[in-house]
Amino acid sequence: MLGIFDILLFHSTIQAVTPILLAAWAGLICERAGVFTIAQEGLMLGSAFAAVAGSWYTGDAFVGVMVAVVAGTLLSAILAAGGVWFKGDTIVIGIGINLLADGLTIFLLRQLFDVQGVFQNPNLAGLATLKIPVIDRVAIFGPIVSGQTWITYFAWALVAVISVFLFRTSWGLRLRGVGQQPEAAETLGVSVRRYRTAAVLASGALCGLAGAQLSLGSVTLFAEGMSAGRGWIAVVAVMLGRAHPLGVLGASALFGLADAVGLRMQGLGLPNQLTDAAPYVFTLIALVLAVRRKRIV
């Protein structure tokens, strides 16, 4: 058992947390604005494809990330239009976006790259990992924290940014007001529709980063369905963290750890069919334990 917990495990945990964390930030912002969304899975998958396409055609991974952000935002515009403007059911629209992303990425994979299943090429530019000058040399802490992609550092920095935004700015106050008491907010002259639209589009951009981390950061390839349920785990992370930045960070980190432990046990000879189930089982157990004490949804 001791062999499982070492520095490398925590390094890969941080890597595994990144997409979940970004998708959870997306869910948190929507939740705070009063939009329940389950579209993260599809937004991430669509963006992961867009990142690879962008990087492939320009040869620049950063451009790939930007294309992914644009793609995520565009896909989330469907939710903004259907859910916020036309007042359709956000759950059904979320399911629709997930299925659209699934079909569209497979379709485009064949149309643009003429392959099925996986697109992989040594010439595909991935994201570089950054060595942080001073921290790099600190024992234990250095090797864990240093050597991640910029998206990872950005995702962690967002805990402060989002906290300040939500609780220390007037925009954040209005956003929370729109979520808690839309009628009151409207009476005070805050446009519910505008704040919700902005929140949904921001969630798309965040999922865009999550997708780019998946296909250009952790690995450098696109595989059909590569978001693999992480968007759903992020939905649970927002529930468990009660839409509070620190709570959501903690929940996402736990799920990332489960993911990394699963991978590690595979290295110890357990069949991957069993270890791959670890994050989902862990998420379900966490959900049961959390709601036992208090109803969270």
């Binding site: 329940f36 389950i38 469907i78 239009a81 259907g82 859910g83 036309f86 007042k87 359709g88 059911d89 759950i91 059904v92 629209i93 399911i95 629709g96 976006i97 299925l99 659209l100 699934d102 079909g103 569209l104 497979i106 379709f107 064949r110 149309q111 349920g229 759903w232 785990i233 939905v235 649970v236 529930m239 069949p271 069919q273 069993l274 791959d276 189930a277 989902y280 089982v281 998420t283 379900l284 959900l287 049961v288 709601v291 036992r292 109803r295 949804v297």
Partner: protein
């Protein structure tokens, strides 16, 4: 109150469902034109690929599991419950039935019946597990059904990769089910008799929905769960049995494919045709009404089989048809044509 026939027709045609389908097909035409194809040619190929000559039999064969998976979602949806766990229920149904069909020491027919029952039971219980999680622990079914797919798929995959694997085969597959324990094919056709099983199950669901007290209570729950509870419906019990029935339908589909089409369990073979998610879309399109759900499922089956024809005749990948389906659902949901789903109850 009789409306003039013309106006009644107009209100039908302009209602959200047909409008979304037409708008979806028009959007699809735009995509086709953008990729340098003539939309009329492509749609002609889809129709020909779905209905012409021997293709019709393929469409029927593809419809059977799809109708089943549609029912697995439609029945709970009738009561406002969302079942996103079709894949898990389907896979457990398939693996349970193949285990019984391979290892139960009994004569062929007994084994076949027991295997079908095992498939139905395994799928049903797995569906029920999610409902139990919600009624007992307040874990929202929308999330739990989806998350439960992964351990089920992984367990089945583990079983056929290791303990149950047929070593004579390069693929992760179980041994073949003995001929006596298979579902026979319909005389004179390549179709398996599972088509008949599916038709019986669907007929039962429609009768349940329209003629039984429990069916009425389920519809009432869908319209207003609190009202149904106030009227004396035991909502928790109802959720458990509705999800059992939905999961059982998925389990039957899994058992039918394994016992009637492939005669063995191959890793990934049940989930890769995407019956679950297409079925979900068909059920949403029909808003859970069982007879309409059958029509929607057959429509999507024809679209997908037509997609194979389109792929052969043009350069367009057949996945375009799944994009079309998703667009139709998105348009429909945005136009508020679909009921609002609460989280669970």
């Amino acid at each position: 109150m009789a409306m003039p026939a013309a106006r009644r027709l107009a209100s039908r045609v302009l209602s959200p469902v047909p409008l979304s389908i037409v708008a979806g097909l028009v959007l699809g035409a735009v995509v086709m034109a953008a990729t340098g194809n003539d939309p009329i040619d492509v749609y002609t190929e889809i129709v020909r690929g779905a209905l012409a000559g021997p293709n019709l039999v393929y469409t029927i064969g593809w419809s059977a599991p799809l109708v089943g998976m549609t029912m697995a979602v439609a029945l709970p949806l009738r009561g406002g419950l969302v079942n996103l766990g079709g894949d898990g229920q389907l896979v457990l149904g398939g693996i349970a039935s193949v285990i019984v069909a391979l290892y139960l020491p009994a004569p062929g027919t007994v084994r076949l019946v027991a295997a079908l029952a095992a498939g139905i039971g395994a799928g049903g219980l797995y569906g029920m597990l999610a409902a139990w999680g919600e009624t007992r622990w307040r874990v929202p079914m929308l999330i739990s059904t989806l998350l439960l797919n992964y351990p089920a798929k992984n367990l089945a995959s583990y079983l056929v990769n290791f303990p149950m694997r047929d070593p004579a085969n390069g693929m992760p597959e179980s041994h073949m089910v003995a001929v006596g324990a298979r579902l026979p094919s319909l005389p004179g056709t390549p179709l398996s008799s599972s088509v008949v099983l599916m038709a019986i199950a669907v007929a039962m669901i429609i009768v349940f929905d329209r003629r039984s007290v429990a069916g009425y209570e389920l519809r009432m729950r869908g319209l207003n769960a609190r009202f149904a509870g106030y009227g004396g419906v035991d909502l928790d019990r109802q959720a458990l049995w509705t999800m059992f029935a939905g999961g059982a339908m998925a389990g039957l589909v899994g058992a039918s494919i394994v016992l009637g089409d492939q005669f063995r369990y191959t890793d990934g073979a049940l989930v890769s045709p995407n019956y679950t998610w297409t079925g979900l879309m068909a059920a949403l399109l029909a808003n859970g009404e069982p007879a309409a759900a059958v029509v929607a499922a057959v429509f999507f089956a024809a679209l997908q089989i037509g997609g194979f024809g389109m792929e052969r005749a043009t350069s367009i990948p057949r996945e375009l048809t799944s994009v079309l389906q998703a667009i139709i659902i998105l348009l429909l949901a945005s136009r508020s044509g679909l009921r609002r789903l609460g989280l669970g109850t």
